[in-house]
């Protein structure tokens, strides 16, 4: 797959999925603390989301950052627009803004970024498109 095809696949995946997280590793086996924390917050909101592991090919990250103008991972997108990385998502989660931005019901109880994620079915895999 050429760099352009990777870029097109990323753009398509972001357009096709309301909530998509580009992360290191997978939701069940995150490979970085920031990715793990972001997954934990999405799971706490009990909202379905698509996750893309950027680690298998360094070009995924390269093309993603070129599109988003955002240097770090994870990156959360809602309806094709970058919501933010781990810091912004954490801030928005704690203020309740993340739920409203993503259009989901806020979780019951105090909003504190969870350390350990609750169990949830695995998200739809779209890894094949990016291979």
């Amino acid at each position: 797959m050429s760099d352009n095809q990777i870029r097109a696949a990323i753009a398509e995946a972001s357009a096709d999925n309301d909530i998509i997280l580009f992360m290191k590793g997978t939701p069940d086996a995150p490979a970085c603390g920031f990715s793990a924390r972001t997954v934990g917050m999405l799971k706490a909101l009990d909202t379905p989301f698509v996750a893309v592991d950027i680690l298998p090919d360094p070009r995924i990250r390269q093309e993603l950052s070129a599109i988003s103008q955002w240097p770090t991972i994870p990156q959360l997108f809602h309806k094709g627009e970058l919501v933010g990385g781990c810091d912004i998502v954490t801030e928005m989660f704690e203020s309740g803004e993340l739920a409203s931005t993503l259009g989901v019901d806020a979780p019951a109880g105090p909003a504190e970024a969870p350390e350990v994620a609750p169990q949830m079915p695995p998200p739809i895999g779209i890894e094949n498109r990016l291979n």
């Binding site: 240097p71 770090t72 970058l82 919501v83 990385g85 801030e91 928005m92």
Partner: protein, 73 residues
């Protein structure tokens, strides 16, 4: 390896009117709280971009991670 003071100075120099509090335990991972009038009217993503652009190319390198919190001053 940059010190917390260097990171603070660079942010404050690059963004007019910015005030930065920077902490680091190891001079590789940094945590910064930045207040700037320049953030007014910008989304959080745009605010963070302004700060991250100061360290273009160094994020992931000399600066392994930059934890950011931005506020409009």
């Amino acid at each position: 390896m940059p010190s917390a003071d260097e990171v603070k100075t660079r942010i404050e120099t690059a963004i007019p009117g910015a005030q930065a509090d920077v902490e680091t335990a190891d001079e590789v991972h940094f945590s910064a709280r930045v207040r700037a009038s320049a953030f007014d009217g910008l989304s959080r993503v745009q605010q963070h971009r302004l700060v991250m652009d100061v360290f273009q190319g160094e994020l992931g390198g000399a600066i392994h991670a930059l934890e950011l919190k931005t506020e409009v001053s």
